[in-house]
């Protein structure tokens, strides 16, 4: 077929959380460059099913770059060679004859559930520990009753795009989740609604991050390069600044 590719895939296979895993090699052919990376894996799985083999488990949900579940380390890069999610990565980023290595996120805090699926509940617990604001329920308040300076609102909106995918952790040589933390801290800390709990929030969220087993940040910057949403490194500066303020306030 014209414009299709034959590829060699090296994939981490692990039957369940406690099992010993290992790399397995597969061949796929007739891959169109218009397919998404996950569609290419679907083709592989159909093939495996026909052969009576266990399909490769990988996480996915929206397939449109907003849920953050498609956590794949592709040729040593979180979500592969483009700045996007694995589901929005297209096969035109590869060429015929390529060998593609696919691994799960590697982090003490993200244990492998099966094959390429990891458990990212550690992020949920970090959010639970402080990634919220407290507001009365009931009728929605008038939108303009709490003015937010434009600069701050823009920064908050820009970093609120974090989808909690964990690519920052996967890419970080220290296995730190500081970019994720920084995105949440900045998002809530820049807005008036985030002020009452601001310093309680940072102390609790950082403590939860540390307790989950993530590493400490050394400002290497691989996280921001891997982030599909382009969250910038300055959120980590904000994180550090707010923690310093919390120390001064005796928290």
């Amino acid at each position: 077929m014209i414009g299709t590719m034959n590829l060699t895939l090296k994939i981490w296979r692990q039957p369940h959380a406690e099992a010993q895993g290992g790399m397995r090699e597969y061949q796929v052919s007739g891959i169109s460059e218009d397919m998404s990376f996950l569609e290419m894996l679907d083709i592989l799985n159909e093939q495996l099913q026909e052969q009576g083999e266990e399909p490769v488990a990988f996480d996915h949900d929206c397939r449109e770059g907003i849920c953050g579940s498609c956590s794949l380390m592709i040729n040593g890069q979180a979500h592969g060679p483009e700045v996007t999610t694995s589901c929005q990565l297209h096969m035109r980023s590869f060429k015929d004859g390529d060998t593609i290595t696919i691994e799960p996120w590697r982090s003490e805090a993200f244990p492998v559930v099966k094959d390429l699926v990891v458990n990212r509940s550690a992020f949920d617990r970090i959010i639970q520990s402080g990634g919220y604001i407290s507001a009365n329920t009931g009728s929605a308040p008038e939108a303009n009753s709490v003015p937010a300076p434009r600069e701050k609102a823009m920064r908050a909106f820009n970093v609120a795009t974090c989808i909690g995918c964990g690519a920052c952790v996967a890419a970080c040589p220290n296995g730190s989740a500081s970019l994720f933390l920084g995105a949440k801290i900045t998002h809530l800390g820049e807005l008036p609604q985030g002020q009452p709990e601001r310093y309680e929030r940072i102390v609790d969220m950082v403590a939860q991050h540390d307790a989950e087993g993530f590493g400490g940040c050394t400002n290497i910057g691989e996280c921001a390069a891997a982030c599909p949403k382009g969250i910038p490194l300055d959120v980590i500066s904000q994180l550090n600044k707010d923690l310093r303020t919390a120390i001064k306030a005796g928290r």
Partner: protein
Amino acid sequence: MATPTLVRGARATQSTITLKIAMAVSGILFILFVLAHMYGNLKVFSGEEAFNSYAEHLRTIGAPIFPRTGVLWILRVGLIASLIVHVACAVTLARRAGRARPVQYQVKRNVNSAFSSRTMRWGGATILMFLIWHLLNFTIVKINPTGGETENPYRLLVDNFGVWWMTIIYLVAMAALALHLHHGTWSSLQTLGLTNSPLARQRAKLAGWVVAVVVAGGFSLVPLSVLVGITK
């Protein structure tokens, strides 16, 4: 695997970021120290007498209010304390980072990080080894590889750098220091929360280049000038 429960009674001072802040503060004290030390070394170019009287002056700062070498010892104690803090935090954080990724990737590409940022731990260990050698060499034991004078600071220095392998040790150490400062300068500013915009980040990274080149370059001028025979 970490326990899937929520932390209670969290304290800001017990966080990994606090360790980083301690590293940043001690690191900045080191930067101030190496800048002053480098500037002092350049006195070599004013000749033997000027250099030796500068070395003597270091011991009499604050006199007669402070005893001889009193102020010098205050500085030394401060530096030793900073070194203990800096190294202890570095070791703690390095071990933590090791535990955070128990299974390594088969393939891992680093796409957007400086070489210096990924070699901070090796570079730090190199600097520590060098520091021990350097103190034995010039301060504690005073080793003159040519067997010459040891109580004349200028002669001790010139004799040392007359030996080729000694010059190499010092130049390699300066390369390690340059790398450490290239990343360390920007990293410390980021750790202190002073780089909250893309422009501030760019400036901090530029500062890293400037500090690295000025400090390592300034120190290297002395052994290089002995090597090419300007200083004898």
